[in-house]
């Protein structure tokens, strides 16, 4: 039996601004099994990073988890206080941030920044913490670890910094690693290396939740994919199902917008229109205003996720209709 690492159900996270409630995450359910790599894909501002922050308990004010549950290794996180969350962050669940350039403290040696995580969560001697730090730094592929341990972030390249951040996230061997756009700020060669590293982590048994707008990254890494649009999951399925047989018009659009050296067309396909304002979402399907296959009921009725097969669910009236026929 596969073990569940993470089970997010019916999560709603909103920002309460002066101009009203902005629903960043709406009724999102996600599950991640042990050793599985799950991808969340979507445009900027679709709420994917807010899911990560909700799981970490790092939603910034005026944002708040409104309802739903987040269960990590059988433990409900939404009811925990800040003190208990501090014990879980970095130990059971850790996060790799998007910007390796600014995610490290500029006035602290990088080795100390990794070692700090061990010191927070375990009562071990300084020598032991240092030993484990050096071990994890070399495990993530940092050369000359003894020297790098004493380096400051500005003395390292972007790729090395991201490796340090991954080392930081991995040093406690967490059950779940959340990677929010881990390669976006890196060049293509380094991106490949970092992805290989993440893949290796999953092979070693860590569950990985990877968040990206980059379909290529998702296709290479993930076993299972959630497509998000305007705070909702619009389609989910195993990576092969989803890429071979995309059902939601938005997923179609996303896949169509991937540029390829081999493609025949000279013009890059795009999805017309812009992501809707999350403070004033249209009634019915959020994608309806941009959808080429929009029908009358799409403007008034919110579609539900329906299973087209055991490995593939989609949230679209087109498929609901097909199902009922």
């Amino acid at each position: 039996m596969t073990r569940r690492t993470l089970e997010v159900s019916h999560l709603n996270t909103s920002f309460f601004t002066e101009r009203g409630e902005v629903k960043a995450v709406q009724d999102v359910s996600i599950s991640v099994n042990k050793g599985q790599v799950v991808g969340i894909v979507g445009e900027s501002g679709c709420g994917k990073s807010m899911i990560a922050r909700s799981i970490m308990g790092l939603v910034k004010k005026p944002g708040k988890i409104v309802s739903g549950s987040i269960v990590l290794q059988g433990k409900e996180l939404t009811s925990l206080g800040e003190k208990e969350l501090c014990k879980i962050r970095g130990k059971d669940v850790s996060m790799v941030f998007q910007e390796p350039m600014t995610s490290l403290n500029p006035t602290m040696r990088v080795g100390k920044q990794v070692q700090e995580v061990v010191a927070i969560h375990e009562d071990v001697s300084r020598e032991e913490a240092r030993r484990r730090t050096l071990q994890i730094l070399s495990a993530v592929g940092i050369p000359e670890v003894e020297a790098r341990y004493n380096a400051y972030p500005h003395e390292l390249s972007g790729g090395l910094r991201q490796r340090v951040i991954i080392a930081m996230a991995m040093v406690m061997k967490p059950h779940l690693l959340i990677a929010d756009e881990p390669t976006t700020a890196l060049d293509a060669t380094v991106e490949t290396q970092i992805m290989a590293l993440l893949k290796q982590l999953a092979k070693d048994g860590t569950s990985v939740l990877i968040i990206s707008h980059n379909l290529g990254v998702i296709a290479q890494l993930a076993d299972y994919v959630y497509v998000m649009y305007a705070g909702r999951v619009v389609e989910k399925g195993s990576v092969f199902e989803l890429f071979d047989n995309p059902l939601h018009p938005y997923t179609h659009g996303l896949l169509g917008a991937v540029s390829s050296l081999r493609s025949q067309t000279k013009v890059l396909q795009t999805i017309p229109g812009v992501v809707p304002n999350l403070a004033h979402l249209p009634a019915g399907c959020s994608f309806a205003p941009r959808c080429s296959k929009c029908m009358a009921r799409c403007g008034s009725e919110q579609p539900k996720l329906v299973a087209v097969n055991p490995e593939h669910e989609v949230c679209c009236h087109l498929k609901e209709g097909a199902d009922s026929l």
Binding site: R89, S94, F97, S103, P106, M108, Y152, I165, A169
Partner: protein, 311 residues
């Protein structure tokens, strides 16, 4: 790496020396450009011409300007600024004890400004846009905007004349430094508090603070271990520069509170056209300010590894 550090220090010391010699020259030229004969001021308007010439010659004021300038510079190098016209003693003997008094006052004022400034700034940043924030920022705005002489007189009125807690003026023991230190330190406490506040707020929004939270650090730990050092970088520079300002800019405070410091000595020198005394006090203040800035630079590079590398 070590060699470049040493040569960097040497370069900065050289700049400091150039600045001091420049000011020394400027002071010399300015004092000679001021109309009127200092000896005539010294002797009063009824002195006869012969006496004025005799005194001028004994003070060396009849020598050609370049010679006077050379004497002055060489003397200053040895710590000899000549004889004070008005007080009849060597300038070096006068500014020594005065500088000690000024140093105590500056240290006390610095203590007030650092402790009050950092505490207010931190509290305001943590309680951003609450009543605490507004209260502390209002307090620091008062410190920045009120002139020293007004604060000094208010303090004297309330704590000395009305409450009889502290002496009005003059220093017999350490309590004599309390009111002048507050009067002098409040202004810099205000600017330090404002800088600490904005700096801490800015640092708390940085990505690495999120990283620290994701590691499992609590709010207080993050503030102390990750935010404070980064937030203090600009503040350290301000504090070091202000300290040299406190050492050299206490003219008004020293005069109001009758503290026999450098500022008061300088005021006396100006009133009496006492050229050697004025040159001595000005050069001392210049030295202190230049050194303060040098220390600020060096402290900054000690605290910020990025600057260390560039340097």
């Amino acid at each position: 790496m070590k060699g470049s550090k040493a040569s960097n220090l040497l370069r900065r010391l050289l700049y400091a020396l150039i600045a001091i010699v420049g000011v020394a020259t400027l002071v010399f030229v300015l004092l000679r450009m001021v109309p009127g004969n200092p000896v005539a001021t010294l002797l009063g308007e009824h002195a006869d011409k012969e006496t004025v010439e005799r005194i001028s010659s004994s003070l060396g004021l009849d020598k050609p300007l370049p010679v006077q300038f050379a004497d002055y510079l060489l003397g200053a190098l040895r710590g000899d600024f000549g004889q004070s016209y008005t007080l009849g003693k060597p300038v070096s003997e006068l500014i020594g004890p005065a500088f000690v008094n000024t140093l105590w006052l500056a240290l006390a004022a610095a203590l007030v400004s650092w402790v009050v400034g950092i505490a207010c700034g931190l509290a305001a940043a943590i309680h951003k846009s609450t009543i605490v924030d507004r209260l502390f920022m209002g307090f620091s705005l008062l410190g920045v905007s009120l002139p020293v002489f007004m604060v000094a007189m208010l303090l004297q009125y309330v704590f000395a004349r009305y409450l009889h807690w502290l002496p009005v003026a003059g220093v017999t023991d350490w309590t004599g430094y309390i009111l002048p230190a507050i009067a002098l330190g409040w202004g810099s406490a205000g600017s330090i508090a404002r800088l600490v506040r904005s700096s801490v707020i800015e640092v708390l929004q940085q990505d690495y603070i999120d990283t620290a939270r994701a590691k499992g650090r609590t709010g207080t730990q993050i503030l102390v271990l990750h935010a404070l050092r980064n937030a203090m970088l600009p503040v350290i520079t301000l504090m070091a520069m202000q300290f040299s300002g406190l050492l050299s800019g206490a003219f008004i405070t020293e005069t109001i509170f009758s503290i026999n410091g450098i500022g008061r000595l300088a005021v006396q020198a100006i009133a009496g056209r006492d050229i050697p005394l004025l040159q001595g006090t000005t050069l001392l203040c210049t030295f202190v300010i230049v050194m303060g800035n040098l220390v600020a630079d060096l402290l900054y590079s000690v605290c910020d590894p990025r600057v260390r590398k560039e340097a």
